[in-house]
Symmetry: C2
Subunit: 410 residues, 2 copies
């Protein structure tokens, strides 16, 4: 008997590698003769760098960039050797501007920026990689990727041709935010200016944008730069009723009465960018991923792929599946969104197609989703009795192992 164990991370408690280990320990007790293969999963969100880098025997590297709120942080990315080519770099948005990394109280979403992701892209490009994979899940930003474009050299100009900061917030008049946050906004602006010494940067922000100067990016695209693969799992366009601000804005803290203004700003950026590119990139599915970062990355030539699909291929899951008798997957919390392209759903679809029983073991399962989950997980769906809001990794791991000891493939 061969058991293929491919969980997503249990967010906040276990990485997917740790979850796979706990599940494997559980089934090894009840099936001591089984051959157990672990393929920890990811789908573009938190943990994607670790999973892909480990699966491909790469190395983890560190680099210092600004986070979404302008604080200096050390982030981790992966470098994966490729035979006969320069290495592949794997980076993840959650690591730089993740929702779970916000300070308390956080800067309002209008002042958060993807600038640090642009710094990281510049860094890995300068290392001479042949390809960059970037996971878009879990971002706290909604800047249309303006921060990334700015860090790569694009300039956003007002009607007089003055370069603006790549920030969504209104600089004049100062919005009614608490004083402590105002000083943090000032520090963020200062840091962006300091980092971009070579250009004249004034204090204005994106609401005044009238023109783009993309000449620096054009140069970048014309040189034989790295291939850019975007790992995303949403189909939203940049703006409008199905756009990033409308659909995902409230989760990130966009106030109801600010949705229209922010969507309008991203729409203007989209028009300017599309005109430069000569293609309606802003309407492409996935341009609305990660607060419009999906747009900016497609504008500079990135291609979107399903994060879970790419990880299934790179982790060896696809190769191991035909020889498996039972597939197990899992995640921290399963609800109806699990069905929308999240790793466990992709795993379930692949197992079903191969006619192999597939079992879901999640930290928690939203009661409303149980019937739908039972339909796609032929081997059943189970929840671990996680107690309290945040069990320690040790508790979570031993609970998960214990549940897996009791499971059978059908």
């Amino acid at each position: 008997m061969r058991i293929l164990i491919a969980p997503n991370s249990f967010k906040g408690t276990l990485t997917s590698t740790a979850a796979a280990k706990a599940m494997a320990a559980g089934v090894a007790t009840s099936f001591p003769d089984a051959e157990i293969i672990c393929c920890p999963m990811a789908d573009g969100g938190e943990g994607t760098v670790e999973v892909i880098t480990n699966a491909c025997s790469g190395v983890l590297e560190q680099f210092q960039v600004l986070d979404a709120e302008g604080e200096l942080i050390e982030v981790t990315f992966g470098l994966i050797p490729k035979t006969g080519q320069a290495p592949l770099a794997v980076i993840e948005v959650a690591e730089v501007v993740g929702l779970t990394r916000l300070s308390q109280p956080p800067l309002p979403v209008e002042w958060r920026t993807t600038f640090g992701i642009g710094q990281l892209l510049t860094h890995v490009t300068a290392m001479g990689v042949s390809e960059i994979m970037i996971g878009l899940g879990g971002s706290s930003t909604n800047d249309g990727g303006a921060g990334v474009l700015f860090a790569l050299g694009a300039r956003f100009l007002d009607s007089r041709g003055v370069s603006l900061l790549p920030l969504v917030g209104q600089s004049q008049p100062a919005q009614s935010i608490p004083e402590v946050l105002q000083s943090r906004v000032e520090r963020l602006k200062q840091r962006i200016c300091t980092t971009e010494k070579s250009v004249e940067v004034r204090r204005g922000t994106l609401p005044d944008v009238r023109k783009l100067d993309f000449s620096a990016i054009e140069a970048l695209l014309n040189s034989s730069g790295p291939r850019l693969t975007i790992l995303a799992d949403v189909q939203n366009p940049l703006c409008g009723v199905a756009g990033s601000t409308a659909v995902f804005g409230s989760q990130k803290g966009v106030a109801t009465d600010r949705i229209e203004a922010i969507d309008g700003l991203l729409n203007r950026l989209g028009e300017l960018g599309d005109t430069w590119k000569g293609e309606p990139i802003s309407r492409r599915p996935g341009s609305g991923a990660a607060g419009g970062l999906g747009y900016a990355l497609q504008l500079i030539g990135g291609q979107i792929k399903s994060g879970a699909e790419v990880v299934c291929e790179l982790s060896g899951f696809d190769a191991a599946l035909p020889f498996a008798d039972w597939v197990m997957t899992g995640e921290g919390r399963s609800d109806r969104q699990t069905m929308d392209g999240k790793a466990p759903a992709i795993i379930a679809a692949k197992a079903r197609e191969a006619n192999i029983p597939v079992t879901l073991v999640s930290g928690q399962i939203e009661p409303n989703a149980i019937v739908d989950l039972q339909r796609i997980f032929s081997g059943g769906s189970y929840s671990v009795s996680e107690t309290g809001p945040a069990p320690s990794p040790e508790e979570a791991s031993s609970n998960l192992r214990r549940v897996c000891e009791t499971l059978r493939p059908v």
Copy 2:
């Protein structure tokens, strides 16, 4: 010492009355001499009818209507005596078209209707009530309230003046939905036609709407009908980037590639309704509540109020607060949305203003929300160790009691 206990329901496990009872039993153990006052809460969602009716010594009545998918169901509403006036009726949207009441698999959101709520409104109006309170939380529908308007007598006409069914789905060509769902859609259409014997109803649906015939509703408004109070806690307009389809559609199952078309349809309904009314009701805050039902109800003269505020007044919470030494509240699951006008947040704000410690006890607390919650709950926020996806009411109740035994006001 006086302790005021005012929890919301613990969705799926405990009503707010049962939760209040369990919490009271817990604190009675540790504070045997305390005077304990229970004010079970609601905020317009599930449980609102029960809470308001009990608090005001009303009676619960039943009536048979169509649910969101066209099945006949018995729903409960409240009748509350008013001195010197006809009684007040309390109804809730969750009871008729609630997300938790959908069958599995559910009809696609495009085919779900608020028709049954219109039937219930007609029924209580015919009973001669002086006021109707309607709680809008937890709906599964996104029909702009067309179903309600139709049941009240409004007619949606195509370009040739033929009356259409109040359904968002395209009738021609049949959308690619499984056969079992197609037969359920046919049954739903048949039931609406049968219920509305007196008018010629053809098979067309709302995407063909060109004209409204609101004469029947006009008559209704001109007569001295009951006052209509809408209990809602969102500020969204009917359409556009901050509208019901854009912001709440995906939670109800609107596919990303259908958002634009459905929003466009609600926009046309809004234009037709606003023209009839002579006022831009569709842009009013709250028109986007309950899939646009907030629009239809305002169109016929309803006034929006905060559900939690109204319940605080009716339940005696406001009257008891000045004499309390400690306030306790709670809910099934607390996350960042708790801060957006949900009952525990309203309770916390009132207690803070009165300078009384307030403690939150919830089934689960989203780890990301803990810091924010600690800021508004001066008496701390605690989660019950609920195990598994859905503890039995008995377990949930005894767990909640046990946690409350250990708490102190500061």
